[in-house]
Amino acid sequence: MVVVKESPAALGLTEGDLIEMYYKVVLSRALSARMWILNRMGRAPFAITGDGHEVAQVASAFTVKPGKDWVVPYYRDMGVVLTVGMTPRDLMLGLLAKAADPSSGGRQMPSHFGHAKLRIVSGSSPVATQIPHAVGIALASKLRGEKDATIVYFGDGATSKGDFHEGLNFAGVHRLPVVFFCENNGYAISVPLKKQMAIAHVSERAAGYGFPGVTVDGNDPLAVYAASKEALQRARSGEGPTLIEAVVQRLVPHSSDDDQRRYRSQEEIEAGKLADPVPQFKAYLEKEGLLTAEQNEEINKRVAKEVDDATDFAEKSPYPQPEEAVTRVYGSEG
């Protein structure tokens, strides 16, 4: 059970903010559940979601100024992109590879988010490649004296890639306005953290690049919010980068093509479910008297309706024209 230590008021969060966060968390989980069902029904060839990461994702993205700050997500970040402004319809269009998918027009696998207007940068499947992009985006903003910041998300597996080290090193040298947000769920597909690194915390890496690193409980919305807010403020005020490690659970297999029972014990999988951040967030809100049964019911109904609407909308939405496949390779040919 997560123990929330921070006080919402001290962080500048209203009751309404917390309810909004909770709503995004529930929405993210419900969309994921629908995506897995559609996959198992054979209506979506592939699904990859961030069940267990939602509280960390939503609470951190809640500190972003949408459309002003740059957000560089990876494929588990449904909670991030929903918080920054993508809609359930946007995500379902991506799942079903429809023409109107704003991330890629149905070109990429699902959850490879992108949205130019919201400054959500298109991502790929190779991990950590987005980290140097975030660094370059922050460099450009700094050169022009702009006050936006960049936040880049990645998993624990990505911290083993050269691009992670090269990106953090350069950001440290130039004190760039960038926040590195690691969602450490302890697994890179099947490879556990202890085979990924010989240190206890990803955040320790920051010392090697000359800026602060913090580890927070990714199930604690206020701890994540506080750390992200502080890091983005540091970035905006020219104090340089921060590495945040949010420790989370991966409640689902890596993707719809993975079976985590092959490499995780039943006990561990069950223990993970007990650490599910969604009911914990709910319990916290109830304990603080911020969420009534009525409000909860309302949120659940609203979410169910949005998920149904998004599914119907995406299913009825057309596929891209086949010949679209050979367009937009270069800028000069339309």
């Binding site: 890629s104 070109r107 298109s122 050169l143 350069f170 270069y330 800028g331």
Partner: protein
């Protein structure tokens, strides 16, 4: 018009672009002190440390951060000190820069240039001599340019910087100081994707690029009494100027492709395929290729290096062989 070397023309073109457009910035290793080939000499004093940026020894970062800067409104010129060192950045170039526009359905793009000195003949051995252009010419989403003269280098570099897509710009380092030519004072741009017939001929076409253009011209001149050789400088390797290739070969009926890059999987294979598919009826001899042997890279010892690299004598022998058909 001023007479300049290739490296002077490149430096001036880059300088003019940085003066013209404040979105242009240079990042790479040793660029602040002017670069190992002096391509950015004096830039730091004029443009300041924000637009001329020494990076750590991190090629993937150089390209990856340039992609980010391009996404955020800049026109970065990323310098890879030697083309031989570009391989750590392969993922960023191929998985990211090349695919950004396509994968975002046109919502994002990477207007950026990656400059890399390439080629042998300067006692550079395995890791300062490589020709890596074919690796990138295979990748849709990238443009690949390989100029041979000061005039082309300046005009194409400006075009590359103004282009809305990622451009790999391979400069044959042996041309840097060896090749001189006239460069106009006024601003001009040469179109990417256009070849140039640098010598008119009627018996045989040579399709080539980079330093080899000059070696081919020398060979053609030496054989001028025996055979009339046309030399086409491809200039851009992706996209290839199919029309220019076909027009020349349809005229002469014979095609010899010459490149310093090794033979197998080189640009020559693609040029040969274009000719075979679209100019078959015009041929009166086999499409031939002259290239570096398939060894990993140019070795250091002078006789080994000379054995591998092109020279006018080898090219003349290939011309004679093909002309005999």
């Amino acid at each position: 018009m001023a007479t300049k070397t290739v490296i002077e023309a490149l430096r001036d073109a880059l300088h003019e672009e940085m003066q013209r457009d404040e979105r242009v910035l240079v990042m790479g290793e040793d660029v602040e002190e002017g670069g190992v080939f002096r391509a950015t000499e004096g830039f730091l004093a004029e443009f300041g440390p924000g637009r001329i940026i020494d990076t750590p020894l991190s090629e993937s970062l150089i390209v990856g951060a340039a992609i980010g800067a391009a996404l955020n409104g800049m026109r970065p010129v990323a310098e890879i000190q030697f083309a031989d060192f570009i391989h750590p950045a392969m993922d960023q170039i191929v998985s990211e820069a090349a695919r950004m526009r396509y994968r975002s359905n046109g919502a994002f793009s990477c207007p950026m240039v990656i400059r890399a000195p390439s080629g042998g003949g300067i006692h550079g051995a395995l890791y300062h001599s490589q020709n890596v252009e074919a690796l990138f010419a295979h990748v849709p989403g990238l443009k690949v340019v390989a100029p041979s003269t000061p005039y082309d280098a300046a005009g194409l570099l400006k075009a590359a910087i103004r282009d809305d897509d990622p451009v790999l710009f391979f400069e044959h380092k042996k041309t840097y100081r060896l090749i001189k030519g006239e460069v106009p004072e006024q601003d001009y741009v040469l179109p990417i994707g256009k070849a140039n017939v640098v010598r008119q001929g009627k018996d045989l076409s040579i399709l080539t690029y980079g330093l080899a253009v000059h070696q081919c011209l020398e060979a053609a001149e030496a054989l001028a009494q025996e055979v009339s050789v046309e030399v086409v400088d491809l200039r851009t390797l992706a996209p290839l100027d199919k029309e220019a290739i076909l027009e020349s070969v349809r005229k002469t009926g014979k095609a010899l492709i010459v490149h310093e890059d090794n033979l197998t999987g080189g640009i020559g294979g693609e040029v040969a395929a274009i000719i075979a598919e679209e100019a078959f009826d015009y041929l009166d001899g086999p499409v031939m290729r002259l290239a570096m042997p398939d060894v990993p890279a140019v070795p250091y010892s002078p006789p080994l290096e000379e054995y591998c690299l092109l020279n006018p004598e080898k090219i003349a022998a290939a011309i004679r062989k093909l002309a005999a058909y």
